[in-house]
């Protein structure tokens, strides 16, 4: 069912965007089809995982995907920079196609542990991702949602939040560029960011520091109360987990390897519980899109979607998307236990949706997003299939047991960590220092560290 724009604007009052980090579709949701219970989902097919389509060749050895039955921190992050992703996609000249069998080689080339069950080839047992599994059972998932670009966090987050990117790989410094926040502000559309950890992703963009010290950026623990008490909600709400890349984060829950996934599962459950606290009239017009920014180095068996000739703001050519990521549409306006397979999405599908719902006088989000639409990416509005909102199911009584981790202030080693460290240094030497320290007490640890 495709809604007209006027029907859509009547049906949708608030869009909630939740973006987790670094997991492929197969890593989180591949288990759904593995045991045959969800044959409609294009996940991992079992029981034999040593089939040519799945086997990754590395240094003369064959490595097969495996069902992860234990949740724990990995020994390291997985490679997912621009060059590593090309290796993972494994272009096969003999068939002129991407085979998705280079994950083992990319991992071992960067010093990964030499065992039979290589970390990037693991896909999680349903018992380890009970919240994601529950959402898939009670709402709609998209099994053709690709991260926008075959590269790492920053470019993909910028594609999601701006429809364009001024960096091709995660960088210490993100150049000034306008994003969804500017688009909404310019159109007088209310928005808010809730971040669970000390920092929002927008912290790495100094242009947003004046806003970060203001009331539009709030800690996640205020969300439930705000939803319950506010009569008018912002039209766009961005929810961010606590980032493992932040050197000041004691309790990350963003799913970014090497972190175990249990913390993220608990966080997503908290988000869902918070949503339910909204008044029924508000909740019935709310659509939450929960995705991951990119695959994070984890195997996925579906080749990327072609985007021939697509060029980023830096001039880099990206002829395909990145890999599939788990994508949930959680709303009273979607059917339970449904998978959207015939439509293709990337992160800019959210921006199409925002413009359809809220752009004053109609019109698209931007010509960059129009360009992505030209590659075949649909708006999230195409996922909404109920003409009348249904009752949202109560939050499940799930307790996700997280492995015990003792996390100290982390060293600054990766580009993602350096970006946050650079931002922290900048904040503390900026005119916003006092306000930042007052709003983000964690900064004292850095200031006096």
């Amino acid at each position: 069912m495709a809604l007209t724009i006027s029907e859509l604007r009547e049906a949708v009052g608030t869009i909630v965007i939740l973006m987790m980090e670094n997991r492929s579709f197969d890593n989180i949701l591949g288990h759904l089809s593995f045991n045959g219970s969800r044959a409609d989902v294009d996940g991992v097919r079992g029981p034999n995982l040593s089939v040519p389509a799945y086997v990754n060749s590395a240094n003369g050895q064959g490595y097969s995907p495996f069902l992860m039955k234990k949740d724990g921190d990995l020994d390291r992050d997985l490679p997912h920079d621009k060059d590593s992703v090309q290796k993972q996609l494994s272009f096969l000249a003999a068939s002129q196609s991407y085979t998705m069998t280079g994950f083992a080689q990319a991992y071992l080339d960067q010093g990964g542990s030499m065992v039979a069950d290589l970390a990037p080839l693991g896909f999680l047992d349903g018992s380890l991702v009970p919240v994601s599994s529950w959402l898939a059972e009670n709402f709609t998932i998209c099994d053709r949602w690709f991260s926008s670009l075959p590269t790492s966090t920053h470019p993909n987050k910028l594609m999601a939040l701006a429809g364009k990117t001024s960096v091709d790989d995660t960088a210490t410094f993100v150049p000034r560029q306008d994003t969804l926040l500017d688009w909404l502000t310019a159109r007088n559309i209310d928005w808010r960011v809730y971040h669970d950890g000390a920092f929002s992703f927008f912290s790495v963009m100094p242009q947003y520091w004046p806003l970060i010290v203001g009331d539009k950026f709030r800690r996640f623990n205020r969300l439930q109360g705000d939803l319950h008490n506010d009569t008018i909600l912002p039209k766009v709400i961005i929810i961010e987990p606590a980032y493992g890349d932040s050197p000041l984060e004691q309790h990350p829950n963003d799913n970014h390897p090497p972190l175990a996934v249990a913390f993220g599962e608990n966080f997503v459950l908290q988000v869902y519980r918070s949503l339910l606290s909204a008044p029924p009239a508000v909740l019935s017009r709310t659509v939450m899109i929960a995705i991951h920014d990119e695959h994070g180095g984890y195997w996925d068996h579906v080749p990327p979607h072609p985007t021939p000739g697509y060029v980023s703001l830096t001039g880099h050519k990206f002829d395909t998307t990145g890999l599939r990521v788990p994508a949930f549409v959680v709303s009273p306006l979607v059917s339970p236990r449904r998978v959207v397979h015939d439509l293709v999405f990337d992160h800019t599908s959210m921006l199409q949706f925002v413009a359809e719902c809220f752009a004053p006088g109609g019109g698209s989000y931007s010509h960059e997003v129009d360009l992505r639409e030209g590659f075949g990416f649909s708006s999230v509005s195409r996922v909404l299939d109920l003409s009348a909102p249904r009752t949202m199911p109560p939050a499940p009584d799930i307790t996700v047991t997280a492995p015990i981790t003792l996390r100290q202030l982390r060293p600054v080693q990766t580009d993602g960590q350096r970006a946050f460290a650079h931002a922290i240094d900048g904040m503390l030497s900026s005119p916003y220092r006092a306000e930042m320290l007052a709003k983000i007490p964690e900064l004292y640890a850095w200031d006096h560290g």
């Binding site: 724990g72 000249a93 542990s113």
Partner: protein
């Protein structure tokens, strides 16, 4: 070594304190080698490491069918011992084990690495096929001599794990195998050296053309044979 006796004792104390802090503060695994990684029951493997930081070495037995993924949390009862920053130990292998080295400094999270030893079991050989002609594909997989398989390990059988017929050449022998077929054609041969796996396209466009039905990998299971 340069004589530092002329320096004031206070300065020496400060310098040595800085040195100790520096050494204790680091955490890195510079080298971690387990060799060979595929052995017969009762054979020994060498485990050597070079690290910076407080280091432990653990040995975790892996039961058949059990995953060996390298996670933070070691099973209860793992054999863990504190070790110096470099060393080599020899261990006799009765069954599959994962060796796990972990090092931690004063700051940050401990880091670790895992290496598995297979006993009388091997990972399959696998390579990415290239065109060997308009209708032919082939891959060449080279096994390092002795580095991964012990001297006692020979070839028992081979099994074609592909969904197409393949021909295999190795150690001066040739065999043609149907899908899933197990062959003794390479029995008692040395696993080291080149394994050439070839196949032909069944239909569709020629090799190198878009849409050619080329499998992503050509994979051969080599079943080991322990020869005393």
């Amino acid at each position: 070594m340069k004589d530092l006796g002329h320096l004031p004792p206070a300065l020496l104390r400060v310098a040595s304190a800085f040195l100790m802090v520096g050494l204790a503060g680091c955490a890195s695994i510079d080298q971690f080698i387990v060799s060979p990684t595929t052995v017969c029951p009762g054979e020994k493997v060498n485990v050597s490491w070079k690290t910076c930081g407080t280091t432990t070495l653990s040995q975790v037995p892996i039961q058949p069918g059990q995953s060996d993924e390298c996670l933070d949390s070691l099973p209860v009862g793992s054999n863990t011992m504190s070790v110096p920053n470099s060393g080599t130990v020899q261990r006799e292998m009765a069954g599959a084990n994962v060796f796990y080295v972990e090092t931690s400094g004063w700051f940050g999270k401990p880091i670790h690495q895992c290496k598995r030893v297979f006993v009388n079991q091997a990972l399959p050989l696998s390579g990415i096929p290239q065109c060997s002609g308009p209708r032919g594909i082939r891959t060449v997989v080279s096994r390092p001599a002795g580095a991964e398989w012990s001297g006692q390990m020979g070839v028992g059988g081979v099994q074609n794990l592909n969904q197409v017929r393949i021909s295999v050449r190795h150690d001066g022998r040739v065999a043609s195998l149907a899908p899933n077929e197990i062959s003794a054609a390479f029995r008692t041969s040395n696993p080291a050296g080149e394994w050439i796996i070839e196949s032909e396209l069944q239909g569709g466009p020629d090799c190198g053309q878009a849409g050619a039905s080329v499998p992503p990998s050509l994979t051969l299971q080599v079943l080991p044979l322990c020869q005393n």
